[in-house]
Symmetry: C2
Subunit: 258 residues, 2 copies
């Protein structure tokens, strides 16, 4: 089999330790092209750059065989630029991450990492977002690597249903607690209970920091939150039709003119 | 009945003609508080501000009875700030828009207007995003107003299923082509076929502009694209569980360890 072309991106920026590890792993699977933000773009969701220009320059970060481009835009911009401008053919796989921190449950809609994977799926490319539940810059990706290799191998072998991508979250456990395996899950019904910390700057003007507490309302044992809490890697298949189908018929009675 | 508390936001910025019209209309329905970006934030999707500070200042724009706050953040930041910091009680309704341009089909995931509405739904607030298919700064909102009033009245009277918000798009027609009514629809399977325009700046460095063509792959007559092309206002109920449920069982066979 020909070596697959693999696009690698993330939202923590091209120099983050998560993407450097992901590039190293992907070099074993295929020919790697990296198109990633030149600075951190966490929490950018599906943002795109439409009212300003994009920079995208070829760079060399290490001695690996991959090609790399640093882009001034969002993670979704990176995927669009890669597919429509930089690459000569459509990638066989897009991987995004390894994110420093969780993208489980509702975080999927805020996450630049996952939005890049969703954008690749929109373009018809099998894609996977990887996240490790460890915010540390010097996170240890060694146990995660086993599961990243397993999921990547599976997607390269089995392909992916059109319009679907994978949201893979890997728990951060203590040294004597091994990961139990992989669970394919649904997105838990969980959310952030936000607070803002109000402060006053040296000139006397008010400003705010977003803070918050993540709360899981979902008692199900088939969710990503359950899997992670129970020491499993969670894999949620993600799609991008957000229609609330069950609501259509009641609304039709109220709103439609015929 | 007590006058409802209505939160108004958008992504084109607090001075855009779309939101000024929406505020004027909402003043007839309830007590209005506006929390909107201080500058345009189109295409911001569900982005949030986590690595920098937020400014949010009370301002007076016109002589209307509404309270107004201009915020340095994204549309989703505006909703979070409003609900968790600025308002003394939970709003009875959140309306976002009127967006200058379409948020139909896949645009829902790129749209700051719709992400604000989704964020409000996440907070348990009935919410509606309104968009007019006219990018002009001086768009004529007068025909749109009839439908905005109708949908708003309906949501205030009937409430909204928890976790669902409405994506309302209003066609821009010629003077002799009246809007035929409202259709409740699903999100069409459509996408942008992107191109990038490559240019060279005065210093000789390459940069890019995102351009693209919107293509509808969906032949269905139950979609928002069909409704808009056939002179109807489209109403798509939107939710935020992006799990690809039909893909779970096949993936389980391939990936799960038990």
């Amino acid at each position: 089999m020909k070596r697959p072309l693999i696009l690698v991106t993330n939202d923590d920026g091209i120099s983050a330790s998560g993407i450097r590890n992901l590039i190293r792993i992907m070099n074993d699977f295929g020919d790697v092209v990296v198109v990633a933000p030149d600075e951190p773009q966490s929490g950018m969701g599906h943002a795109i750059t439409i009212d300003s220009i994009l920079r995208c320059d070829k760079i060399v970060v290490d001695k690996g065989p991959q090609k790399e481009y640093a882009c001034s835009g969002t993670p979704v911009d990176c995927v669009k630029l890669a597919v429509n401008q930089l690459l000569e053919k459509k990638p066989d796989l897009c991987v995004s991450g390894i994110n420093h921190g969780s993208n489980s449950s509702i975080n999927v809609i805020y996450s630049g990492t996952m939005s890049a994977a969703v954008e690749a799926a929109l373009e018809g490319i099998p894609s996977i977002g990887f996240s490790l539940l460890d915010y540390a810059h010097v996170a240890d990706f060694s146990e995660a690597e086993i599961y990243i290799r397993k999921v990547t191998q599976s997607v390269l072998e089995n392909g992916m249903e059109k319009g679907v991508c994978l949201n893979v979250n890997i728990p951060k456990l203590k040294e004597d607690e091994p990961i139990k395996g992989i669970k394919v899950c649904r997105q838990a019904n969980a959310n952030w209970e936000e607070e803002f910390e109000q402060r006053v700057d040296p000139k006397g003007r008010t400003y705010y920091w977003l803070t918050g507490k993540f709360v899981n309302y979902d008692k199900g044992t088939d969710t990503d939150e359950w899997a992670l809490a129970n020491h499993y890697v969670s894999v949620v298949p993600v799609q991008f039709d957000v229609t609330a189908y069950p609501a259509i018929s009641a609304l039709n009675k109220i709103l439609s003119d015929e």
